[in-house]
């Protein structure tokens, strides 16, 4: 059952995500519209995108609280995801071992950042006004994932060794099921299901900002319209 579900989730996520990216990549950008001042070279554009992805440059200019909460969440999420390699990869990569403590601290910070972002959404009138049920839904889903994960670290420990053994066979066998002998094991199942739900809605929701950002013409275009002619295929037909 779980194996089937895992394949189902992975398929929806991968096909959904890639087909959105395909749509973005295929749709033409007929005019040069970088928000200036913009880099005048391709290398400069790559650096602009790096600063946006790694430091959230534009958000820093506009909203310090959203920037702090958003950056804390995304950065800790990255660390937590890397730490999770210990559950999926056998043998465990050497660099993941020392990440154990950092990863757990990151998990705590991540949950706090999510709670902060939720609070911000509720407290600030303008942000509350623009929030839809879907916006809260995704935040609650992430909070559920973070808290169920932390609970397993601190309170309800699942039989992680048995789980990993089963997970490693899961991709090759349909019969493998993680053990359900304790409250911790149940918590693990809940954690897994929430992650599955997040991955399923990912391609159909605002979570697509993860891939879409790289296709934003105002950020990824080189400012060289005078030097280089830029014509989209459909516009060529008008010439």
């Amino acid at each position: 059952m779980l194996t089937f579900l895992a394949y189902f989730v992975a398929t929806i996520f991968l096909i959904g995500f890639l087909s959105r990216i395909f749509v973005y990549a295929r749709s033409p950008a007929p005019l040069k519209i970088p928000t200036t001042p913009a880099p005048t070279t391709r290398l400069g554009v790559i650096w602009r995108l790096v600063t946006e992805v790694v430091f959230f440059n534009s958000l820093f200019k506009s909203d310090k609280l959203a920037w702090a909460g958003g950056l804390a969440f995304h950065a800790t999420l990255a660390v937590v995801l890397i730490r999770h390699a210990r559950y999926f990869v056998d043998p465990m990569p050497a660099f993941v071992g020392p990440l154990q403590i950092i990863g757990i601290v990151a998990g705590v910070v991540m949950a706090a950042a999510l709670a902060f972002l939720l609070l911000r959404r509720l407290v600030f009138e303008r942000v509350r006004y623009i929030s839809s049920r879907a916006d809260y839904g995704i935040l609650f889903l992430l909070l559920g994932i973070a808290f169920s994960g932390l609970l397993m670290d601190f309170v309800l420990r699942p039989n992680i060794v048995a789980i990993k053994t089963q997970l490693m066979t899961m991709w090759s066998s349909v019969t493998g099921l993680p053990p359900v002998n304790s409250a911790g094991d149940v918590m693990f199942l809940l954690h897994l299901l929430l992650v599955g739900a997040l991955l399923v809605i990912f391609p159909f929701s605002k979570l697509m900002h993860a891939g879409g950002l790289f296709f934003s013409p105002t950020r990824n275009q080189v400012d060289n319209p005078r030097e280089k002619r830029h014509v989209a295929p459909w516009a060529k037909a008008l010439d």
Binding site: A29, P30, S58, L59, H230
Partner: protein
């Protein structure tokens, strides 16, 4: 509230543009189809409708929101007017659970909101600076206007003006004899005030430069002061130029209504004239969105401009042109001529956030300021959150410079006026230099509502015009 919604286009305005004269019968279906078509033509629209995370960073960045406090003028909410329709017809979640994801039908109420609020956006792109993903509301506004035009729900002001360009050659509908008369009058005016025979030639084949100015420069105050400034610069540099009666308009309202085809058709007049008159260079006058279309789109729309002199940028902004001459020592400017002014500079939105001047990123901020500093002794910038790429729109851009939107224009000017008033008090500023015809017209009209005299605004080349020493040097070519 009155004066917050535009007049609709009548059949006589719409039909010559190739749009339905009035709202088509199956407008809902046609509108949704048009949205589907645009999603396939514009990556910006497709990506920006998908990826907003509603972080709220843009909510207090729009001058119309700051001026009206109307929630639909928060950029994210304005875009939501289209996103909610997009979700309903183009996403699985919106088709299945419209209530959950806020998806709505393209119905009468939605269309009314579109017509109102997509004409309360001046496409100034300030929100795109602050968005973590660079979501540009202008792209969404342009698409919305194109969709509305396609179903026969147009904005009178913009379509009427585009009609005049196609018919007569400029936004104001100035015919050739009137243009000729004006230019001759200005030549006399300059001769009287300076004693120098500065020419403003019309339709002169073989001139070095085709000057394309916004047509307001021919008739409006303070615009005309800058036009005289350009002419003096050409004269002093010894570079021949001409104005064209066929392409007597730099502005391009095709951009405001999101129409690639109309933008291309309007821009084509200029490029054709440059070829026909056999000029070597194309120079664009003080106009914000015109410079965006010229700098960012001309090459794409009607290029390549490879028949022009490759030693100079094509096209070139008049500020770049004058700045280049100044650096090469071709001009003498007497700063004291402007000693009655204490000057600040308003970065026009389209120039600041959608173009460049000179070879370096940010030249669009430095080059006009260099010209001002070279022309006067007292210059001070406004609050740093209101200049450069963070500049506020004047409140009249994007096709909103029309009387029926006067309330909106007054409110939209509030953030800029607030910053201006601060330097007027702290630094005794009494002149705000501009490089945009719309900014000039908008501020002249709106500043008096805030108790500021309309002659506080003028062009950068108005200052150059006052300071330039005619005959002081030989000039260079």
């Amino acid at each position: 509230m009155a004066h917050l919604a535009p007049y609709p286009g009548m059949p006589k305005h719409m039909e010559p543009m190739g749009f339905p004269g009035e709202r088509v019968e199956n407008w809902q279906q046609k509108g949704v189809e048009k949205l589907g078509e645009l999603l396939k033509k514009y990556r910006s629209l497709q990506v920006y409708l998908d990826i907003c995370v509603k972080c709220g960073a843009c909510t207090d960045k729009c001058h119309y929101y700051l001026g009206t406090q109307d929630a639909n003028n928060m950029p994210v909410q304005r875009a939501e007017l289209m996103r909610s329709v997009y979700r309903r017809y183009f996403t699985p979640a919106g088709k299945m659970f419209p209530g959950l994801v806020n998806a709505v039908d393209f119905d009468e109420e939605t269309l009314q909101k579109w017509f109102t609020y997509f004409h309360q956006c001046s496409q100034c792109r300030r929100c795109s600076v602050f968005c973590p993903f660079g979501i540009d509301t202008a792209e969404i506004t342009m698409a919305a206007r194109e969709i509305m035009n396609a179903i026969g729900v147009g904005h009178k002001y913009s379509v009427e003006i585009i009609g005049k360009v196609h018919q007569i050659g400029n936004n104001l509908g100035i015919p050739k004899p009137a243009l000729k008369g004006t230019l001759e009058f200005l030549e006399e005016e300059i001769l009287d005030s300076t004693g120098h025979d500065v020419r403003l030639p019309l339709d002169q084949p073989g001139a070095d430069v085709l000057l394309v100015a916004p047509s307001a420069d021919f008739f409006s105050e303070p615009h005309i002061q800058s036009l005289m400034g350009y002419a003096k610069v050409f004269h002093q540099a010894g570079i021949s130029f001409t104005i064209s009666s066929y392409a007597s308009e730099a502005a391009n309202f095709g951009m405001f209504i999101g129409s690639y085809e109309h933008q291309k058709k309007i821009a084509k007049r200029v490029v054709e004239q440059a070829r026909d008159l056999k000029v070597k260079r194309l120079v664009v006058g003080e106009c914000g969105h015109a410079w965006r279309v010229a700098y960012s789109f001309w090459n794409t729309l009607n290029g390549p401009l490879d028949f022009l002199d490759p030693r100079y940028p094509a096209p070139q902004h008049i500020c770049e042109f004058t700045h280049d001459l100044l650096q090469r020592g071709a001009l003498s400017l007497d700063k004291e001529a402007n000693d009655n002014y204490r000057v600040t500079f308003h970065d026009s939105c389209n120039v600041a956030r959608a173009t460049r001047m000179g070879p370096k990123a940010g030249g669009q901020f430095e080059i006009p300021r260099d010209l001002i500093r070279a022309s006067c002794n007292h210059f001070v910038d406004m609050d740093e959150d209101t200049i450069h790429e963070k500049t506020f729109c004047c409140g009249g851009g994007g096709g909103l410079l029309t009387d029926e939107l006067m309330d909106l224009r007054i409110r939209g000017a509030l953030p800029r006026v607030t910053a201006l008033k601060r330097v007027m008090e702290s630094d005794k500023v009494n002149f705000m230099a501009l490089i945009c015809a719309i900014c000039k017209a908008q501020f002249s009209k709106v500043l008096p509502m805030y108790g500021i005299s309309m002659d506080v605004v003028g062009g950068v080349h108005q200052l150059v015009s006052n300071a330039i020493q005619l005959g002081a040097k030989k000039g260079v070519v």
